[in-house]
């Protein structure tokens, strides 16, 4: 029986999530034994034509060309999984959604007229139907293996949607907000990284985006109690997942307050 065909596509991104696939090292051989790696230019120049059974998409949509190309990728894919903060939320480059793109292009490039770029960086789900989203900046490599395994075995991936706090507690890491007043996005951020930053006594940066039922406004109130300004809150929520709706609404709210208060 022919193995399912796997494709990996890149849009606007840093390639870090694709590298996470290569980073599974020995397990890469196991992956290659259950799927046919048919189209993965980062790993091999050999490209086998679609359609593909499983497609992993990295990156956000930032150009008219990509906005077209993602539809072609969708047409070639039976099961499409977006990987990483760019593909699932627009990525760090979504910060441009709050700015004037013409100002950037005219400042950076001698001939901006050769560029064809969109005003926004948006997640793949805004353009085509997505079957599963794997969060993270970057994604966790073992979570990638789990997604591939679940696809091959015809089951739902074991990917949690609860908060980072659950991972801290399972590891026995004391809460950094409670025990030393370090602002942390963990309570509103989806688990998946293994609560990396709090285990080094730092607050969470929100790399995995909003958890299943994020109360961002109450967490913002708690941060203010720890001395963080409205401007500080805008910066915190405008990270790798800035354009994810719950984070976007809260950063917009505190930006309005920062302007009103002259911060």
């Amino acid at each position: 029986m022919a193995l399912p065909k796997l494709a990996v596509y890149k849009f606007a991104s840093c390639d870090g999530c694709q590298l996470s696939i290569l980073d599974v090292e020995d397990l890469l051989l196991d992956i290659a034994s259950v799927v046919h790696i048919a189209n993965f230019p980062e790993a091999s120049r050999e490209v086998i034509e679609g359609p593909y059974d499983l497609t992993l998409v990295e990156g956000s949509i930032t150009t008219p060309h990509d906005a077209e190309r993602i539809h072609e990728v969708r047409r070639q894919s039976k099961f499409l999984v977006t990987i990483g903060a760019c593909a699932t939320a627009g990525g760090i480059q979504a910060l441009k959604n709050w700015k004037d793109t013409d100002l950037f292009t005219s400042t950076v490039y001698a001939h901006p007229e050769y560029l064809d770029t969109l005003e926004t960086s948006t997640p793949v789900k805004n353009h085509v139907e997505v079957n599963f989203e794997l969060r993270g900046c970057p994604v966790d490599k073992m979570a990638l293996v789990e997604v591939v395994a679940a696809f091959v075995q015809g089951r739902r991936p074991n990917i949690p949607e609860y908060s980072v706090c659950v991972e801290c507690k399972r590891q026995g890491t004391p809460c950094v907000m409670v025990s030393h007043g370090t602002p942390c996005l963990g309570p509103v951020t989806q688990a998946g990284c293994g609560a990396l930053c709090p285990s080094y006594n730092r607050g969470c940066y929100g790399c995995f985006g909003p958890m299943e039922s994020p109360n961002t406004e109450m967490l913002a109130a708690a941060w203010q109690r720890l001395g963080v300004s409205h401007r500080g809150l805008v910066d915190a929520f405008r990270g790798f997942n800035a354009y994810a709706e719950p984070f976007r609404i809260t950063s917009d709210h505190h930006e309005a307050l920062a302007v009103a208060k002259g911060e």
Partner: protein, 383 residues
């Protein structure tokens, strides 16, 4: 009552050593990441000498006391369920091959000695004994009772309750009455650190006999101990009025207060994970990529996650208000219907470790008073 002995800090060190020599892994409080957590201790020098913990809703700070006390603090973010009901346990794993299906050998569980168990924590272990031991217990917890039986317990009575303690309301402290092998009370007597030690079981008496010669405590020392413990009972940080509380909570299922709590609650699950009696867990099945090796893992879960109540295509408790109501009502009311007692022991962890300081005693009181909206219980300075 058993004989009351007394020693200085060297006797505490000898006790830790004696337990290690009997083959126990001795677990006790240590300082890590600016909090007191439970981990392996090698001797009295590992204990948090001279530290105390200041606790408020949503706030915890370690501070130097300026004295030599070994037990001058209460409970931190860890509880003993970390060891008796670990955060992640492989229930079984196995491999399929042409020869058939073989389960992997399981590691022998370690033989623990818990050192510095507070009275509320003893009560919490007993609450979980009932949960796991009764007909309502989950078969998945088989093995806990064997582990529990071989665990040696050294309790420490609380002469200085913390800011969020309410064990007196729950009738679980500040003095341990049962469930320990040895109990210790730390007192300052004529300027000296003194440890009043008594056994609660034959195993405890045996260990104490090995520590000989231990002095007998003087009447004066026993009186000082009793006085300190009576004082502690009168100086709890919090109170919870439990009279008719179960009926009150059950009769308020539609109280709009739940939605006002939801405005504050992060649904992060911290309260349930630090609680020494919350026992909700989930089971993950994992299969290797090639489909030949399977692992079934039990993990701590929480009634605050959506996945926990997910069935038939959607979560049963979608709103955060419904999740908080489920938690507090189970803990203080329906737990009695299930297990004959409340599930709360008054340790205050859920109050301290809630990042936004939601206070179970204040919320129960608000329901009692009929406060629909927040007034002064905009807790932890969130005015």
């Amino acid at each position: 009552m058993s004989e009351m002995f007394v020693s200085g800090q060297s006797g505490i060190g000898r006790l830790i050593q004696a337990l290690a020599e009997r083959g126990h892994r001795v677990i006790g409080p240590i300082v890590r990441n600016e909090a007191l957590v439970y981990d392996e201790i090698g001797g009295v020098e590992d204990l948090p000498r001279g530290w105390t913990d200041l606790q408020e809703p949503g706030r915890y700070r370690l501070e130097q006391r300026g004295d030599e006390k070994l037990f001058g603090y209460v409970v931190g973010p860890h509880s003993w369920k970390q060891y008796l009901n670990p955060p992640e346990t492989v229930l079984w794993s196995g491999t399929i091959s042409p020869e058939g299906f073989m389960t992997d050998p399981m590691p022998e569980p370690p033989k623990y000695a818990f050192f510095g168990v507070r009275p509320c924590e003893l009560a919490a272990m007993q609450v979980l004994d009932t949960v796991y031991g009764s007909d309502n217990g989950t078969p998945a917890m088989a093995g806990r009772s064997a582990q529990r039986e071989q665990t040696f317990i050294v309790a420490v009575n609380c002469v200085e309750p913390g800011g969020n303690c309410f064990c007196v309301s729950m009738d679980t402290g500040p003095t341990a009455n049962s469930g320990y092998d040895i109990s210790i009370t730390e007192i300052v007597h004529h300027g000296n650190m003194r440890y009043l030690i008594e056994s609660g079981t034959d195993a405890g008496a045996e260990v104490l006999a090995e520590l000989a010669p231990l002095e007998n405590a003087s009447d004066d020392e026993v009186q000082t101990r009793d006085g300190l413990l009576a004082e502690a009972a009168a100086s709890m940080g919090k109170t919870l009025d439990t009279e008719d509380l179960a009926d009150l909570l059950k009769g308020n299922a539609l109280n709009p207060r739940w939605e006002s709590i939801a405005d504050r609650c992060l649904a992060c699950a911290n309260c349930t994970l630090v609680c020494p009696t919350c026992f909700c867990n989930t089971v993950d099945d994992n299969l290797s990529l090639d489909g030949t090796h399977a692992t079934r893992t039990r993990k701590w879960d929480s009634c605050f996650t959506l996945g926990f109540s997910y069935m038939h295509g959607r979560p049963m408790r979608e709103s955060v208000g419904a999740r908080y109501r489920q938690w507090i009502t189970h803990k203080l009311a329906t737990w009695i219907d299930q297990f004959g007692e409340m599930g709360c022991v008054g340790c205050g962890r859920c109050i301290t470790w809630c990042p936004v300081g939601i206070d179970i005693t204040a919320e129960a009181e608000a329901i009692r008073r009929g406060d629909l909206r927040d007034t002064q219980v905009r807790i932890g300075g969130f005015a």
